[in-house]
């Protein structure tokens, strides 16, 4: 029986198969494929056909070459694969390094500025305090205080972010009222929010939530602070909460800022600031807000409001609150 192809060419075909396997898969399968094709070639094409025995000793040479080539190729492709992986890892490391460098630059800038003001104001007071007019003295001391507060706030934000990221914060869940949290936030932020018209809408029948109230307060405070910082003085900031099925949606809506579509998601990343940002802040507020909300099983996002403005929203899951016994039952 004379096959249409010369057995050598058929051997080449088998080899091609081995190369393909070596390229696609790891080393083990390539060697297995080489061995298998040698056996199959022997069985099907090497006289006597239909057995594994070999008539012509020449074919042993062919087998050896097939195996050697398969091994070499699998070895080479493996090398390439390893190198590609290393390169990818290097790229990730370089990116992390780049992010870290930007981050460090941004932190140190944000911390240095208040430090510079504090050093200047305090040395001015210490060295020429008595030559200053009293109102100038007071103004310098005030700015010292303001900058110190700002700096303390920024350091806390960095610490909070780190603690949230490393999982060092375990939420202490308790029944909490969104209305109460909102009231507390507005009181705490009375000063920064004094420049805006703040409206608050919390329905009377909003369910209590099982959350860490202090953390949620912080998430909400960050949204309000952002609104005060990035929208023009005198514009409206609306704080709203409403129930939607199994969640409560808390929104801070402003009508004085716009964000390009592409930035809606980006602003939630650490140390990212909106493109028009110049008003200070670490670029951590939204990242912290999202981390806190996620810790509670909710989502945080930003969306444009029809007619202009941006809504920052987050959800918190609703759990069934235990019933409150009617008052006469309590003594």
């Amino acid at each position: 029986m004379r096959p249409r192809f010369d057995p050598v060419n058929i051997a080449m075909l088998y080899m091609l198969a081995v190369v393909v396997v070596a390229l696609r898969f790891a080393r083990g399968p390539a060697i297995a494929a080489a061995a298998l094709s040698v056996l199959a070639f022997d069985f099907a094409f090497v006289p006597p056909v239909g057995t594994f025995s070999v008539e012509d000793a020449q074919y042993l040479f062919t087998f050896a070459i097939m195996l050697a080539v398969a091994l070499a190729i699998s070895r080479l492709t493996e090398d390439v694969r390893v190198r590609a992986r290393a390169q990818a890892r290097l790229a990730v490391e370089a990116e992390t390094e780049r992010v870290r460098a930007t981050l460090l630059a941004s932190i140190s800038h944000d911390l240095r500025t208040p430090l510079a003001v504090m050093a200047g104001a305090s040395s001015g007071l210490a060295e020429s305090g008595e030559r200053l007019r009293p109102e100038e003295r007071t103004a310098l001391a005030r700015s010292l205080f303001e900058q110190a507060r700002k700096m303390s706030d920024r350091v806390s934000k960095v610490l909070d972010m780190t603690r949230l990221e490393t999982g060092a914060i375990a939420p202490e869940r308790d029944w909490a009222s969104v209305g109460e949290i909102a009231g507390s936030v507005l009181r705490g932020l009375a000063e920064p929010l004094a420049t805006h018209r703040v409206m608050i809408e919390v329905p009377d029948d909003l369910p209590l939530l099982r959350v860490d109230a202090a953390l949620v307060e912080q998430a909400l405070a960050n949204l309000l602070e952002n609104a005060a910082r990035h929208t023009p003085t005198g514009t409206v900031v609306r704080l709203r909460a409403e129930r939607q099925d199994r969640e409560v949606v808390v929104s801070v809506e402003n009508f004085g800022a716009d964000l390009p579509e592409a930035d809606l998601e980006r602003v939630f990343a650490k140390f990212e600031r909106g493109t028009m940002e110049s008003a200070g802040g670490m670029g951590l507020g939204l990242a912290i807000c999202r981390a806190i909300v996620r810790l509670h099983g909710g989502r945080a996002w930003a969306e444009p409001i029809a007619g202009g403005g941006i809504a920052f929203r987050f959800t918190l899951p609703v759990e069934e609150a235990p019933a409150m016994p009617p008052e006469p039952a309590l003594r």
């Binding site: 507060r149 202490e172 909490a176 109460e180 949290i181 909102a182 608050i200 109230a213 008052e327």
Partner: protein
């Protein structure tokens, strides 16, 4: 308040903080005793018999909370905690150990002075506290259990009166949730914080001008509540 200058024991390990506290508090007319450690504080509190103690929570030798416990073993002097920790838990622990109030670092001196004054006022009040309570256009008689707002009688339930009474006895100071629950509903309801949320809302709806922006019945989130009866 005594006719002489009230003495403040300042328990704080950071010399720079002690320095500015001494300077500003002396300028306000207080006498200052400084304790740089918890161990010193226990001794100083006994020997100097201060009118009030300011205790930093992060002391090198033992925790500020331990200082509060030791002082409370023999004295009812008002204690205001200075806490650098933002953690609610340490504030609650300090309050439960017997502290009267806390100020979170960094604080403005005005804030601290207000807390000191409130705590000292508290100390000279008879333990039963005031029988009546008045703010804005609201007048409440806790004993007769009547409440009037803008000349119109407001109906408060017995529990609402009890809750208001517990806050009024500690007016100006934060009262922990646990303590309110124990005082109003009893020790078995210590964990039923949802009672507080519901009843505080009811009280605000009845007594606050803007219940969503309370000015009198204040929440110290995660810690407790504070009645701010004075402006």
């Amino acid at each position: 308040m005594t006719a002489t200058r009230p003495t403040i024991l300042v328990v704080e390990d950071e010399p720079e903080i002690r320095r500015f506290l001494r300077a500003t508090l002396e300028a306000e007319g207080y006498r200052i005793v400084e304790s740089p450690s918890g161990r010193r504080a226990a001794i100083d509190a006994a020997t100097h018999k201060p009118d009030i103690a300011l205790v930093d929570l992060g002391l090198p030798d033992f925790d500020g909370i331990e200082v509060i416990r030791r002082i409370r073993e023999w004295s009812g002097m008002p204690i205001v905690v200075l806490s650098a920790r933002v953690h609610e838990r340490s504030k609650i622990e300090a309050l439960d150990a017997g502290a009267n109030d806390y100020v979170t670092k960094p604080f403005a001196i005005g804030e601290l002075l207000a807390r000191i004054r409130a705590a000292l006022r508290q100390a000279v009040r008879p333990p039963s506290g005031e029988r009546t309570l008045a703010f804005d256009d609201v007048a409440i008689d806790l004993e007769a259990r009547t409440a009037v707002r803008g000349g119109v009688e407001v109906h408060l339930t017995p529990i609402e009166f009890r809750l208001l009474g517990a806050l009024a006895r500690n007016a100006g100071r934060v009262v922990t949730q646990r303590r309110l629950l124990e005082e109003v509903w009893g020790p078995t309801h210590r964990e039923d914080t949802h009672y507080l949320r519901i009843y505080m809302k009811q009280l605000r709806d009845k007594l606050e001008r803007d219940p969503l922006r309370p000015r009198r019945l204040l929440t110290e989130t995660g810690v407790g509540y504070r009645l701010a009866a004075e402006d």
